[in-house]
């Protein structure tokens, strides 16, 4: 195993640069529980959805033949029995051998580029051919590996495969008897010829070995040979197609349609959920009942499950990080201290006086001066909450004739308290973004983002350890590091994403707007706003208003790309009648840190598409936000920024 100073620098767990044993050490089996028995037995297609870095490819890599073999060979001394137990329960491993094994096919640009070949309209049939060959090659490689490593198929070279029955009008490769060797040789020749053909210049001929396939035959063929070949009985190949979104839409539709056909061979497809254009995105409701596929959304893990998952991921990486091995660092969370519960009164005297004066003014009651040298943070949060409620009462149209009405205890709800905590953090400079849970929450349900935020934390822990200092991070240090990550994330938006400049401009305008709305004195949408939404119907009407209009096109593309890159994520509100539900776009939680917003989802605002387009185009001043927000801001400028 290579020496890895800080294992958090491996952003994804499926890198081959990590050898299989290291991968197994890093892989967290928490999400494995989302797989069901039916994903191996029922003829339904399984679609793994998720944003980049959500763990789709890692899950597929776990089922690759080479990984399962490594797990079986090392199972006596494997670091994680949970992983083995889970795989045994799913029937993937029996005794000391994999019974199900994945055939990994990456939807790379070779498959995609078939669409651009000048082959007189035979592009879709050529796609079938290359996919058939890749699936079959992958299967043969798995058989070879299982034999070499576990002696599962003695004499595999001589294994003979029966052709597909006559009722399938199959191409020659699948309709003639084959031995293992002859089939492997045919696949190799066709793959090589495809590579040459894809590199060819205009006018060059199609190599003779490439025959076009009218449909995908590899899946019925694998099913057929697994049933008819005695040596293969009891083994279950799983066809795993990764990164389907890399293909053209037409190709995705073609493959999806064929993969939806029921088959005893499980088919798993990993795709970025938001590859869809906006129109499809807003149509994606829970409409898959009764359809021949099951969706597994890796982005929608509930917060506690995701926290548990990244805690597991983090602790595994801490154990692997060679620079920390002498220091017995086992639990990442324990090294991230919460903010102190008391602060010196002298440090916040001026801010506290301002706060108390405002409360006195609104409540027409005196506030006792603070005499203790230290003051509890909870007390400050209480004062902020009281001020928020007083500001709300002040804004009520009909004021009481007998002075300000008393605040009801029921008004001090969790949301107000959370807004007050946010306000107090800002006013009194108390760290708000600290502790492991915050680190997990700022990752937007994405393990790759978690690793990228956590990596500087680990660097800091390592440097403290090397200087012989206590190896925990104070809340202030954590907040500084997480803010630096947020700034870095924001700065790179224009380089990382297609349409990045417009996305960055939009985010910056939204951040300013959300900040101003969140920090209005009466906290109108407690604990804060970090999303914008549209009525589904209105959004659809806008997109259909003039699909060729430059602004509509840009609006669609910018939002789609932002969602695909996880800069924005979508949630739907279920309230209201059909068609009046809202589609809400929240900004990435790390960006909430940049604009000092709460990390929870919930608070959002309606923003008209026309204003959003302007926000994508140029910096928008607060005066352009619309009447509803401009008027309250007059006289509140000190709150903004």
């Amino acid at each position: 195993m290579p020496r890895i100073p800080n294992a958090f620098n491996f952003r994804v767990a499926d890198q081959t640069v990590l050898d299989t044993s290291l991968f197994l050490n890093l892989y967290s089996p928490v999400y494995l529980g989302q797989l069901k028995d039916e994903d191996f037995t029922a003829p339904k297609l399984l679609i793994l959805h998720g944003s980049p870095g959500s763990g789709k490819s890692s899950l597929l890599r776990l089922f690759e033949t080479s990984t399962l073999i490594a797990l079986c060979k090392n199972q006596a001394r494997t670091v994680d029995n949970n992983l083995l137990t889970s795989l045994r329960e799913l029937g993937v491993i029996e005794d000391y051998s994999p019974k199900a094994f994945g055939i990994y096919v990456h939807c790379d640009s070779s498959l995609r580029d078939i669409e651009n070949l000048n082959v007189s309209g035979a592009n879709d049939r050529m796609l079938n051919t290359l996919l058939d060959i890749r699936i079959t090659s992958g299967f043969l490689r798995s058989i070879e590996m299982l034999n070499v490593e576990l002696s599962s198929f003695p004499n595999f070279e001589g294994m003979t495969f029966q052709p597909l029955p006559d009722d399938e009008i199959a191409p020659a490769i699948f309709s003639t008897p084959q031995t293992f060797s002859s089939l492997r040789e045919s696949c190799r020749t066709i793959e090589r010829d495809f590579a040459t053909f894809l590199n060819s210049f205009p006018g060059e001929d199609i190599p003779s070995s490439i025959k076009t396939h009218s449909k995908l035959f590899s899946i019925p063929y694998l099913n057929h040979i697994c049933r008819s070949t005695p040596e293969l009985q009891g083994f279950l190949p799983i066809v795993m197609l990764d990164d389907l979104h890399e293909l053209y839409k037409r190709q995705r539709d073609q493959i999806s349609e064929q993969f939806l056909s029921r088959s005893a061979i499980p088919r798993w497809v990993a795709v970025r959920k938001n590859v869809y254009e906006l129109e499809r995105l807003i149509d994606l409701e829970d409409a898959n009942d009764g359809r021949d596929f099951r969706e597994m959304n890796l982005d929608s893990a509930p917060t506690p499950l995701f926290r548990k998952f990244v805690n597991n991921v983090g602790n595994r990486r801490l154990r692997i990080s060679s620079d920390l091995q002498p220091y017995n660092v086992d639990d990442f969370g324990e090294h991230l201290l919460p903010a102190t519960d008391k602060i010196p009164a002298a440090r916040i005297q001026s801010e506290l006086t301002t706060l108390c004066e405002r409360i006195s003014e609104l409540s027409q009651a005196e506030i006792d001066p603070v005499v203790d040298p230290e003051i509890f943070v909870d007390e400050l949060v209480g004062l902020e909450a009281r001020l928020i409620l007083l500001e709300r009462h002040r804004n009520k149209v009909q004021q009481s004739l007998f002075g300000p009405s008393a605040i009801d205890d029921a008004e001090f709800d969790g949301k107000v308290r959370e807004a007050a905590r946010l306000f107090a953090s800002k006013r009194f400079r108390i760290p708000y973004y600290c502790t492991f849970d915050t680190l997990a929450d700022s990752s937007t349900g994405n393990v790759e983002q978690f690793l990228s935020i956590a990596s500087p934390f680990v660097d800091k822990i390592i440097s403290r350890a090397e200087l012989n200092r206590p190896i925990y991070l104070q809340a202030e240090e954590q907040q500084k590091l997480i803010r630096a990550s947020a700034d870095r994330y924001f700065e790179l938006i224009d380089r990382r994403f297609d349409r990045g400049y417009a996305i960055k401009q939009l985010v910056d305008n939204l951040g300013g707007f959300f900040h101003a709305v969140t920090y209005r004195p009466n906290a109108p949408i407690a604990p804060g706003v970090n999303g914008f939404g549209f009525e589904r119907k209105a959004l659809r009407l806008f997109l259909e208003s003039d699909p060729k209009d430059k602004n509509v096109t840009a609006f669609r593309e910018v939002l789609t790309r932002a969602v695909a890159g996880n800069v924005l994520f979508v949630k739907e509100t279920k309230q209201g009648q059909a068609g009046t539900e809202r589609v809400v776009f929240y900004i990435n939680r790390l960006l909430c840190v940049k604009y000092q917003l709460p990390l929870s989802t919930g608070g959002w605002q309606n923003i008209k598409p026309e204003l959003l387009i302007e926000m994508m185009r140029r910096p928008i001043s607060p005066r352009e936000w619309g009447k509803r927000w401009v008027e309250p801001l007059l006289g509140e400028e000190e709150v903004y920024g």
Binding site: T16, S137, N199, R495, K550, R618
Partner: protein, 362 residues
């Protein structure tokens, strides 16, 4: 011994063409025209030479995407228009067409190389009618000039094109003022896909520069599944002798901690000549083919290059890729942001002449 071990490179572009045009006045330039003021340097230099003929040009017009929202788009569009007008106004130049080329299709995938090659293939007879064909890569993106030069080189080997030249105008100050962004998904360039099936281990040779961390990471993500060894290429000697150190300092985290690059794998190549990097890539390719083939499971490897440094280094990488059929993985910028409007650009840059095929080698 590589095909271009003995090469022809002349830094006195004007002097070289003054002599040649008096002897053979049949010349055609294949060029890209966009916002970059270097687009016209080669044409302006040649047309300033007193000779009897006119210069034929096949231009590929590169405009910013029309759905672009930002004000930057207007600036780029104006500069592109200005360059096109200047070319139109040049009485010594005959331009066959101003065909526009989209680098990406509607779904955002790179298609510029394939489309440009098709366009040139359609006009091959007209181009080949000239004794000398110059590809001016100063205003062409790598996704376009890589397949284009490979195609023309092949046609030259087939005897269809007599003499193939490359012209390149470099200006690091100008490069610094152009900030590229919005990188799409990395991909193998058209005609530079691996010519062996997937699953083989690969040796990756990225030519890197300091502001390329996101592009480097993106390409790495694409190929890492099969990557056995990474040999980053740094510019040394370079005009700024500290450039290589600066690049390492800036990219150290991604190079040494993420990609686990061994310090012994760093490859230093002369920034001013394409033939140094060309020769070194051939050596590395030979070395790994020979040494790794002795290891179990690595009987066959493939070398992949990624040109993210200057045009001169990219050109050397291209020559090695053409000679060895190496794969080229790359991600093109989707947009450019420029500092100022280049009104202070004096245009007194001197292109470099590289004679690639033809009489010079006979």
């Amino acid at each position: 011994m590589g095909r271009w071990s003995n090469y022809f490179l002349d830094r006195d572009f004007q002097g070289f063409w003054t002599k040649l045009l008096h002897k053979d006045p049949s010349v055609c330039v294949v060029m890209g025209i966009g916002f970059d003021p270097r687009s016209l340097t080669v044409v302006d230099t040649i047309s300033a030479i007193p000779w009897s003929g006119t210069l034929s040009c096949f231009t590929i017009c590169l405009r910013p995407p029309t759905s672009e929202l930002s004000e930057n788009y207007v600036k780029l569009e104006k500069l592109t228009e200005k360059n096109i007008e200047a070319l139109r106004a040049n009485p010594r130049v005959t331009v066959s067409s101003y065909d526009e080329l989209s680098l990406r299709d509607e779904e955002g995938h790179l298609i510029g190389g394939r489309s440009a090659t098709l366009k040139i293939a359609d006009n091959l007879a007209k181009i080949a009618a000239h004794k000398h064909v110059i590809v001016d890569i100063s205003g062409l993106p790598r996704t376009v000039f890589y397949p284009l030069i490979k195609f023309l080189c092949k046609k030259s080997d087939d005897g269809i094109i007599e003499n193939l030249h490359i012209a390149v105008t470099e200006d690091s100050d100008l490069d610094r003022r152009i900030k590229s962004g919005e990188f799409g998904n990395p991909d193998y360039l058209f005609s530079f896909r691996p010519d062996v099936p997937d699953g083989l281990k690969l040796i990756w040779l990225p030519a890197i520069s300091s502001g390329e961390s996101s592009r480097l990471e993106k390409i790495h993500n694409q190929i890492e599944r099969d990557c056995a060894e990474i040999c980053p290429i740094l510019p040394f000697p370079a005009r700024d002798l500290r450039r290589a150190d600066e690049i390492i300092m800036r990219l150290r985290s991604i190079l040494f901690e993420r990609m686990l690059v061994s310090e012994n794998n760093l490859l230093l190549c002369d920034e001013e000549s394409p033939f140094d990097i060309y020769r070194k890539i051939l050596d590395v390719d030979d070395y790994y083919r020979e040494t790794l083939s002795r290891l179990d499971g690595l009987s066959e490897i493939r070398t992949v290059v990624s040109p993210m440094a200057s045009k001169m280094l990219s050109l050397g990488m291209l020559l090695a890729s053409i000679e060895r059929n190496l794969a080229v993985s790359y991600t093109e910028a989707g947009s450019y942001e420029i500092e100022g409007d280049f009104s202070d650009f004096e245009g007194n840059l001197s292109p470099v002449e590289i004679w690639l095929t033809g009489e010079a080698y006979s």
